[in-house]
């Protein structure tokens, strides 16, 4: 029986294994030293790797992002930790205007192999500036790759692939998933970026869900099974590149699809996935309108009931499935 570790430990383990092998890999970020990072991901690492490679930085998201890009361009493989994914806005110029474009602007010369790790998502009561899911922003930028693991197993394998990738990769960790556990091999392994995972097979309806919504969808699927509804849950795992084939094949099979994410629905990645499906050969198999579930069009509120109401819940997913199946 394989040991189980938490999502947080899986992230740390992936980095530690890599750092033991490759001196070019280092981590920089705010409070990642003896403090262990805002969520404790790097706890204990400075003791093993020292302050040069577990590089505690000033509170300068733009500066440290640029430093990561510049060092990647000159031969390092930095891992940049941002304490909250909301703060990516401050680092965005360096990621969007520099990291994403350098290789293309320079005619294929130079590369920026770096990983920007950052926790996203609500549910912690941290309110509007510490709870967002802004993955669609970066998914929009050619030159960046975007990863959203939902399990400890995926987190370790995907982080390995992200660290091996020659491009800037934005790696979204989910705060509420840090404490969740799953069976994770002790040895190193890589999950290719751009390969979705069918988390549950089904025949009546496809749910494409990301990050924590994978778990909510699986919970909904379990409930719906009692009513004889067979739900397929697909976790894209990476939204850039997106495994269109797996999604399209599933929709061709079920004819019905719901896209669920925590990020605000308006302009969210769900719109992209829905459009992709509508443009694909799955169109002719669609037997119900594509449904999207996402966060409300408001900042994330502090009050716990409101905070919960902001993002899709299991009951919302169940309702959406039934509506899609005309069984509401």
């Amino acid at each position: 029986m394989m040991r189980e570790i938490t999502y947080l430990e899986a992230v740390r383990e992936a980095m530690s294994i890599e750092m033991r092998k490759n001196d070019d890999v280092y981590i920089l970020g705010e409070d990642i030293g003896v403090y262990g990072g805002a969520f404790g991901v790097t706890r204990g690492m400075i003791e093993e790797f020292g302050p040069e490679r577990i590089r505690n930085t000033p509170i300068s998201e733009a500066g440290i992002a640029g430093a990561a890009v510049g060092s990647a361009l000159t031969g390092m493989r930095p891992i940049l930790e941002l304490q909250f994914s909301d703060f990516i806005t401050i680092a965005l110029d360096q990621m969007v205007n520099q990291a994403a474009k350098i290789r293309y602007m320079y005619g294929g010369k130079g590369k920026v192999p770096m990983v920007l790790r950052t926790p996203s998502g609500s549910g912690t009561g941290a309110a509007a500036q510490h709870s967002q899911s802004l993955e669609a922003w970066v998914a929009h930028i050619p030159g960046l790759k975007v990863v959203q693991p939902s399990t400890a197993y995926d987190a370790k394998g995907l982080l390995k692939a992200a660290m091996d990738d020659e491009n800037p990769v934005i790696f979204y960790e989910h705060k509420l998933l840090y404490k969740t556990s799953s069976a994770v091999p002790e040895e190193e392994y890589s999950i290719p970026l751009g390969k979705a995972d069918i988390k549950r097979e089904g025949t009546d309806v496809t749910i494409v869900a990301t990050a924590i919504m994978v778990h909510k969808s699986l919970e909904a699927a379990k409930e719906l099974e009692k009513e004889g509804i067979s739900v397929e849950v697909i976790d894209p795992r990476t939204i850039v590149p997106l495994d269109e084939e797996t999604i399209v094949n599933s929709v061709k099979k079920t004819g019905k699809v719901i896209v669920v994410h925590e990020a605000v629905k308006r302009g969210g990645i769900g719109g992209e996935i829905a459009s992709m499906i509508a443009e694909s050969e799955a169109f002719d198999y669609l037997d119900a309108p594509i449904k999207r579930l996402g966060g409300a069009s408001s900042p994330i509120p502090y009050n716990p009931e409101l905070e919960k109401a902001h993002v899709p819940q299991v009951s919302d997913i169940i309702k959406a499935v039934k509506e899609t199946l005309n069984r509401a």
Binding site: L73, M76, Y104
Partner: protein, 329 residues
Amino acid sequence: MQLTKEKLLVPELSNDKLIDLYKQMWQIRLFDEKVDEFFAKGMIHGTTHLAVGQEASAAGVCALLTLEDKITSTHRGHGHCIAKGATADKMMAELFGRTTGYCKGKGGSMHIADVDMGNLGANGIVAGGIPLAVGSALTAKMKKLDYVTVCFFGDGATNEGSFHEAVNLAAIWDLPVIFVCENNQYGMSGPVKEMTRVENIADRAHAYGIPGVVADGNDIIEMINVTDEAIKRARSGKGPTLIEAKTYRWKGHSKSDAKKYRTREEEQEWRKKDPIKRYKEILIEAGILTEEKAEEIRLAVKQEIEDAVKFAEESPKPTLDDLLTDVYA
């Protein structure tokens, strides 16, 4: 080396190198003047930012750099590229959007880079290159490599947050980086006196606990001397230096600039401080150059630029298949 009664060149440079720097200044000037001509004629699309009048800082700062050393540049970057070893033909081809250009025609004027030659790229984002230079310096430190990184930026960039964050990082980590602020008096149309309260940009260095040096940006010898000291400091692990090169751009900010924010008289005053003319006089006085030789060099560079144009014009254009290549490594 005492060149004239007033001019002492601190680092040891050969006469050939000094003449070469003279030639380089002409390369910078004539390249940009040709580009100016082409833009005026509508032969090149997009936009461009010319460094005519600022040749001494580019050539002087880069005079002591090795192939391993790095630079980051700005939107006004043609001069820096040439000073770091780029050739006019591939630069012109880039501006013509040809596949033989430094960026295969996909970067254009604002993004000329030659990573292999240590040019980490011009940058369209004001102050965008400053954190990159710090990152490059971080690599040198972590990999225990000997190179330094020179970071060029303008006076306008020092009001960007990135400047302050990046200089602070370089300072706390004692990174081998040299910040070169080419203060050409205007951030586009904004006069530096209106946009900054401090007398000198270099004064800002004190806020980060590093040396700040003011230099005559139109005097190549002075630029070489201050850079020499900054490089020594960087290579010995003592950290960064902020050099402010006071200079002036003769042309407008970019191709469409009526220059209403400054006077003819001011422009004439600065033209009198022509860095090429001043350097030529020093070299002649030092007995290193003659008027005839100087003219010969200018004409040779002129021909070189014409050849570069020919090369660019004859170079192939990218195909539509190139649109999606090099997005990812």
